[in-house]
Symmetry: C2
Subunit: 378 residues, 2 copies
């Protein structure tokens, strides 16, 4: 029997956050990497688009007029998937296999910046800090509302992701239930926090009066950032690391998280951690754009404590096992036009990838942190 | 508080097969249903395409020549995601959070018919019976190979699903591990089989010498086919029912399964059940094509006993809780060009839909079972 080589032999990897496997078929990437296959995409977007419903001063589909905002601007989605209270009385289930629960909540749209053409990859770090502050504000406001159990901050970028408006913006959905994926992650984090990890030198979980529980993500980030070769690390700064996780599903998926201490949510960030967060967000998105010299499509989401802890709260709750992290799930595979489809075997059986996470991280490490359009423009 | 109305109020439904929830936002579908928005798509495909690597007599990318086959033709994928044994020796895990297991197996491509232009929706029932027989043959052959623990039969149809060749074909992947999704379903079926369901009049699980255990899918199919309004049933014949499941993620998702008795796998089908299976496959795919007058894209997959039971085996094994069923997951939403994207909140938190399963089933019930191209051609 040959010696196992993860860059050659088909294998399965396990995702300890979701308890799912991924099938990796590295022998299918024996083709040489051709790099950029298409000419760099110039940004043909204007700084202001009179037809854009997100630009300052324009009228939205619901009839409201946007103010002449200076940095971020947040409004209630005019076509929200969730509605505010009151929720109707719970129905009687027809059958135990057909259960239903009413849900309530709200959907916010957060415009990142007045400029129609500036994505995270092209905004200044100061502007990204303002976005982080606005995320924090919405997380606190929505997370404190009566009945709200979860706040999901996310960005959906690019026509390839079904996002019809290129004006840089994200969304925040708040709801009266903990959704499937965060619930799975919280369960895994809680289980890990109860496990015995006495030998690890990683940071530990939330330091309540008596508790320093092991944290799955503190441990994972510690291992990735301290191993000799760091094959999956794309970049790190003094507080944060961006890596292609061992169990990545999307070709250039990134997990971005703090690795120096257990940070439960945006509310726990110090001023310097906020700045270094903006710094790494800027660098990750620049590398993404530079990979295929295009405005890189992705969905990005923040996972953290489902809602903020009560002010002055000293007791450790189950929710404090949450470790703030971001998932970037981009669909592009080989160049600006070749995308991965989640279909067939993947919908029916299990996620599958050819390019290994290590190969993806290597390609992202090779990208510049100067945006390609800044080369073109100069 | 208003009385709960599942066609008006946002709510969550639970999928007992996967233990996942779906967020339903029916208030967003208040827009009138416009029906067909685009002219019917004529099939401009030739009966034979000299450039198609699946047509009879043509050369495949691996260099082999296809025979002049008469009905189905199966070959090993020239670019397979899985490789046959020997597998390399298992590696030493770097860390408990980075586990890896070598996997082996095979990937077959099954051409449905010599005609380049005839999908399931346009093939005769006799031709579909031959496909079912070929599925059964491959399932038995692959499922009996040393080390194979699971056989996944699926079809990926349409450019929208990343399928580059329109020549009707499916795939079969066999592997030395039970993949994530079927493993979850098997666990749910096993758990249900241990539960107390004495009051139900539904068919029961596999009838070994002493066992008649409850079956989640026997029960679910029984409830859907016997309730007064049958709001989610699209069509049924004497053995099979096609319905939009209570927990459907995709707009026009269909679950197709036998409802009269517990059938573990293709191997259990009687001759008449095979014919009625071909009949309902033909009718479901015709309705799909007729919905937007186009060749309807989807991924379709068969879930059944992971591998066939050993011949003459009388003891009941855990695998016998499997209940043969097919999932159809089509991406189209409103017409032949408007698709659903699984992005943003759905990738980060939970699946979401606007159109309710009941509304989707109603639209599919309204479709003809005569293919729209047969109207055009005549
Ligand atoms: Zn997460
Ligand atoms: Zn299934």
């Amino acid at each position: 029997m040959a010696h196992f080589d993860p860059s050659t032999h088909p294998h399965r990897r396990f995702n300890p956050l979701t308890n799912e496997h991924i099938l990796v078929s590295p022998h299918r990437t024996k083709r040489p990497w051709l790099g950029q296959m298409e000419p760099p995409q110039s940004s043909n977007l204007p700084q202001y688009d009179p037809k854009c419903y997100l630009c300052p001063g324009n009228i939205r589909s619901g009839g409201q007029t946007n103010p002449n905002y200076d940095n971020t601007f947040t409004f209630d989605n005019d076509f929200a998937a969730l509605l505010p209270p009151p929720a109707p009385s719970p129905p009687v289930a027809t059958h135990p296999l057909m259960t239903v629960e009413p849900v309530q909540g709200g959907c916010d749209v957060l415009i990142f910046h007045p400029r129609h053409d500036l994505t995270l990859a092209r905004l200044k770090v100061e502007d990204i800090i303002r976005i982080i502050e606005e995320w924090t504000r919405i997380y606190v406001v929505r997370g404190s509302q009566e009945g709200i159990k979860y706040v999901q901050i996310f960005e959906n970028k690019g026509a390839m992701m079904g996002c019809s408006n290129p004006h840089p913006h994200g969304q925040v959905w708040s709801l009266s239930a903990l959704p499937t994926l965060p619930a799975m992650e919280m369960e895994s984090l809680l289980k890990y926090s109860m496990s015995d990890q006495t030998e690890s030198s990683a940071p530990r979980g939330f330091q309540g009066t008596f508790h320093r529980r092991p944290c799955l993500l503190c441990e994972y980030a510690h291992v990735e950032t301290t191993m000799p070769e760091k094959p999956r690390v794309v970049l790190k700064n003094k507080d944060w690391v961006a890596l292609v996780p061992w169990w990545a599903v999307w070709p250039f998926e990134i997990l971005l998280l703090p690795y120096k201490r257990h940070i439960r949510s945006l509310c726990d960030l110090t001023a310097t951690e906020k700045t270094s967060f903006a710094d790494i967000l800027s660098k990750v998105t620049k590398r993404y754009d530079n990979l295929f010299s295009c405005s890189f499509a992705y969905s990005m989401g923040l996972h953290q404590r489902p809602v903020p802890s009560s002010p002055g709260e000293e007791t450790v709750e189950d929710e404090d096992v949450a470790h703030l992290h971001l998932h970037f799930t981009p669909p592009l595979l080989r160049d600006a036009s070749v995308r991965k489809f989640l279909v067939g075997f993947e919908l029916m059986a299990e996620a599958q990838r050819d390019l290994t996470p290590e190969q993806a991280a290597e390609k992202l490490r090779a990208c510049s942190e100067v945006h390609y359009l800044d080369h073109i423009d100069n």
